[in-house]
């Protein structure tokens, strides 16, 4: 019936708004639990190992090739104006301001975010949350909070690593392959990159870390309790995190510039 259409639009909108509200409450509760003793520092370290250390290789490879491509593209553009000496600053600025935080976050969302969602989903299917409850352990504090804290802490570190590797990649192509002067590459970089650029990159990566951990854990907790539900939640976690990283990147850039 025709009257069903507005009703279903209304119902869907209400559902969406409710989900957003619930995810906000979920984030607040989980973060608050992280600051209530006893502190689970060991759990946070383990999660940092999972999100951070185990992402090092993939971040290294993406960082290296991003820097190399930037070196190549930048060189060909800059030589047209005879400004290839600026290659170092061009590579460093694009990586530190934009590509480092964004690409790194996208890689982590794909690797660690999806794993977080499916891990939580499986714990949910197999009754491990009530099992923790029955052992007098708060599942939110034990499972969720450490992941959020670890996500917020890991991303800036990984991004810093990405930045260094990327700049090195640009150096490999620019200086070693195409013959840009080494002194110019690093010298121009030092004068061009200001503290504001680095600070902006850190702010972005902190935000992205929170976004990935928040979306991935929330998708896991709200996954439908069957195998299909978990696989759907995992896909949704990656898609939602990736899209929100890009949207948030625009918002943050416009605020920081």
């Amino acid at each position: 019936m025709i009257s069903d259409i507005p009703a279903s639009i209304g119902r869907n909108t209400l559902n969406q708004v409710q989900t957003i509200g619930r995810s906000g409450v979920f984030l607040f509760r989980s973060l608050a639990q992280a600051f209530v003793p006893p502190f689970r520092i060991w759990r946070v370290i383990k999660e940092i190992q999972f999100i951070g250390t185990k992402s090092l290789l993939i971040v290294f490879v993406t960082g290296l090739f991003t820097g190399m491509v930037l070196g190549l593209q930048g060189y060909h553009t800059l030589t047209q104006f005879g400004a290839e000496a600026l290659l170092g600053s061009a590579v460093a600025l694009s990586i530190i301001r934009e590509l480092g935080p964004v690409l790194c976050a996208l890689m982590v969302a794909g690797r660690a975010g999806s794993a977080m969602t499916s891990e939580i989903g499986i714990m949910k299917i197999t009754d491990q949350f009530p099992a923790l409850e029955m052992m007098a352990i708060d599942p939110v504090k034990y499972v969720i909070s450490p992941k959020l804290i670890a996500g917020i802490l890991s991303l800036p570190l990984l991004t810093a690593f990405f930045d260094v590797v990327g700049i090195f990649g640009g150096y490999l192509v620019g200086v070693n392959l195409l013959g840009v002067n080494e002194g110019a590459y690093f010298g121009k970089m030092v004068t061009a990159v200001t503290f504001t650029d680095i600070y902006g990159g850190v702010i972005k990566s902190l935000t992205f870390g929170l976004l990935i951990a928040w979306i991935s854990t929330f998708m896991g907790v709200t996954a439908q309790a069957d195998t299909e539900g978990v696989s759907r939640a995992t896909t949704r976690a990656v898609v939602f995190s990736s899209v929100s990283i890009l949207v948030m990147d625009y918002i943050l850039t416009s605020l920081l510039l």
Partner: protein, 261 residues
């Protein structure tokens, strides 16, 4: 001892618990029997504090679990052990760490003592030698026993079993039954078993409570239930497809629904 008074829990218009009153006595095995959807799992979730009732009281060791705050509830939980239907072992920890988990979380016992305690509990359930295996490497019956070892590692006063024998072969069922009885005797605890396995129930129960649509329709010893003349009880025990307990839950008339189209 657990005393349940006038417990009410509704899901929408469905009454999962309809003014339930019963007690689980210390040192005895109480079995809650009922078909699917009879409210037995809901009752268990409320008695363990996983869900709050709409009204009524659950007295556990003198504390009303239907009203307490999280901290007090957790304090009571340390006296409870629970065996979940799918055993709910942590899939990322091996059997030893699974069983040691509550000890590591709640006590400051030295590692060597934890090892002794875990070995003792594993011996009780006949799983010594599987410490290093992951839960996925165990069979269904072994997983249940490992889950049981974890449930008793803190020496609880009450153990809850959620369908402990469902999905097990006859021998594993017998092993679990024997374990429930042994533990009940050795540890002098309160055992509460939720089940729909009549045979196993008759072997282990000191007291049987039969639920039907959120209400207790029979309560008594094994003999009393066996000799019951209530047609609903008789149907449940014999597993007759025809009887006062309907096969279908639909309330609308079949013919009416067919003719509506």
């Amino acid at each position: 001892m657990i005393i349940i008074e006038n417990l009410v829990k509704n899901y929408g218009s469905v009454a999962a618990c309809n003014h339930l009153t019963c007690r689980f006595e210390k040192g005895k095995v109480t079995v809650i029997l009922g078909g699917s959807g009879s409210g037995k799992s809901t009752l268990l979730r409320q008695v363990t504090g996983l869900e709050r009732p709409d009204s009524g009281q659950i007295l556990f060791d003198g504390v009303d679990l239907s009203r307490v705050h999280k901290k007090a509830l957790y304090a009571q939980r340390k006296k409870m052990g629970m065996l979940f239907q799918g055993s709910a072992l942590f899939n990322y920890l091996n059997i030893f760490e699974n069983i040691a988990f509550p000890l590591r979380e709640h006590t400051r016992i030295a590692d060597s003592v934890i090892k002794t305690l875990v070995t003792m509990k594993l011996e009780m359930v006949g799983l010594r030698g599987t410490e290093h295996l992951m839960p996925s490497q165990l069979s269904g019956g072994m997983m249940k026993r490992a889950g049981l070892a974890r449930a008793i590692v803190m020496d609880p006063q009450v153990i809850f079993y959620d369908e402990p024998t469902s999905g097990l072969d006859p021998i594993s069922t017998g092993v679990i039954d024997k374990l429930i009885l042994d533990l009940n005797q050795k540890l002098a605890i309160t055992s509460v078993v939720v089940s729909h396995d009549i045979e196993s129930c008759f072997r282990i129960a000191d007291k049987i409570i039969i639920l039907f649509f959120g209400e207790i329709i029979a309560e008594g010893t094994v003999d009393e239930i066996r000799n019951s003349t209530d047609p609903r009880v008789m149907q449940f025990i014999t597993g007759a497809p025809e009887g006062p307990i309907p096969f279908t839950r639909t309330k609308t008339n079949y013919l009416d629904e067919l003719l509506m189209r």
